[in-house]
Symmetry: C2
Subunit: 274 residues, 2 copies
């Protein structure tokens, strides 16, 4: 069995990229007359939208990240498009990591149902997860060394501080989450953490806490205001890796150019071994 | 516009019940040959399963709670069944509250996509939400007084203590969440909180913190070991209300009898106005 860690490393090496393109079908993707058409046709339009972006950007990225909410917003037709998009990715780009941005987090048989849907049915390589319920909500994912679990840790929204910055025993909550993610949850080297790009100081602290070999998924560059190179310098490790920088809305206008530029900006900021 | 609070009160009064039946289609619902059939047929079998339970139990409950993960585990066919089940509930039992057990929690346009899917497309009256990202992940739901947001607060799984019991200023994290849920997030009287039935001491504390008029959604009775009457006494308010006791797997064998018994057990433990 290939582990998630080795697959991620191979994808980064092959693409020479730490860039990830997010697939967030816009709410206004369909014209009014298309919205009224049958589910089969809606699914086809959404699928084509994703495939077009994948075709234009695949050579510049180590990962694609469909955001489930944007597909679900179109109902079961959207979920059919997600299934078709994942089939396309698995068939045509099996080396590129697929991240299901789902932010799930539940326990017992519900957690198993999430894994069945996300890891088996859709065949994502990794999924984003919410840590509020503790390891019970994550273990179904992290037990599988061929898959990755990406724990939401420090987000970039204003109200992130409602709880993530509450100090417990001298440490904000998000650092407690990160400590667990980087140690006890990471026995299969397949636990990662989400840290927003708009908080480079937190990325710097996170790297110190998590050590050299841990990966951060970093959203929030571009449309959300985070600086790419600052994020790479603050969050990256000494080997010039350790971060996956993800961009969604910012690439929609001209995907090929935007993805090429994202890779290039990131690579300029990576320390490179001679 | 009818508010969520008034709809919930009316549903409880009409059914004389604080019981909620969860709809969790079991993973082994389909035979091997059925699993291989076309999505249309799978969706029909799942829909029929739900409608059968609804027919047998609707007179005993104030709410139905489909758990999205169990539908999603069947892929887009499962989501089609969820859509059909919600259409059936909205057409046949418009007075019964529908709770989408989704535990979503994300920000910005993702949060709006969740609301579009859950509140508009599926037309749930209320949804369960995860508080880790703060109010930004909840406000799209709580701003709508005709809908309810049910914040996961204190869960019954062993690792709930990983974070929920971390203390700040003499209060565990879950109580910080509850305090916000019961005050600043509750301006439309449409914020509720999930507190597990297996922790009656926490239910008692939660009632003290949240005051008389707040509602708890209480899972964990039956299969998960929580005692119904203890949960009602610990979590209920002085008016004999304030809790929605939800049961899913325990009712699967004989839904009508189990739902009737759940209502009856709850009602025996409710203080009743003379």
């Amino acid at each position: 069995m290939e582990t998630f860690a080795s697959r991620l490393a191979a994808s980064i090496a092959k693409s020479d990229s730490l860039a990830c393109v997010g697939l967030d079908p816009p709410a206004d993707l369909l014209t009014d007359s298309q919205s009224g058409s049958d589910p089969e046709q809606i699914a086809q339009l959404l699928t084509n939208w994703g495939i077009d972006i994948i075709r234009q950007t695949h050579q510049f990225v180590c990962a694609f990240k469909p955001n489930l909410a944007f597909y679900e917003a179109f109902g079961s037709a959207g979920v059919r498009a997600l299934e078709a998009t994942m089939r396309y990715l698995n068939e045509n780009h099996p080396d590129i990591i697929t991240i299901g941005d789902a932010k799930r987090g539940d326990i017992g048989s519900t957690s198993q149902a999430h894994a069945k849907y996300l890891l088996d049915h859709l065949n994502f390589d990794a999924v984003t997860l919410n840590p509020y319920l503790g390891i019970d909500a994550l273990s179904v994912f992290l037990e599988r060394a061929d898959k990755g679990g990406i724990v939401v840790c420090r987000t970039s929204n204003p109200s992130a501080d409602d709880f993530q910055m509450l100090e417990l025993g001298g440490r904000p909550l998000w650092q407690h989450v990160l400590l667990k993610a980087a140690t006890e949850w990471n026995r299969n080297a397949n636990c990662l953490a989400v840290i927003g790009a708009t908080r480079p100081d937190n990325l710097r602290q996170a790297r110190k806490i998590a050590g050299e070999h841990f990966f951060f998924l970093v959203p929030g560059v571009g449309a959300q205001g985070g600086d790419v190179q600052e994020a790479v310098k603050a969050g990256g490790n000494q080997a010039g890796s350790g971060v996956i920088i993800t961009s969604s809305r910012s690439i929609l206008g001209s995907p090929a150019e935007a993805a090429a530029q994202l890779r290039s900006e990131i690579n300029q900021a990576r320390p490179r071994l001679a």
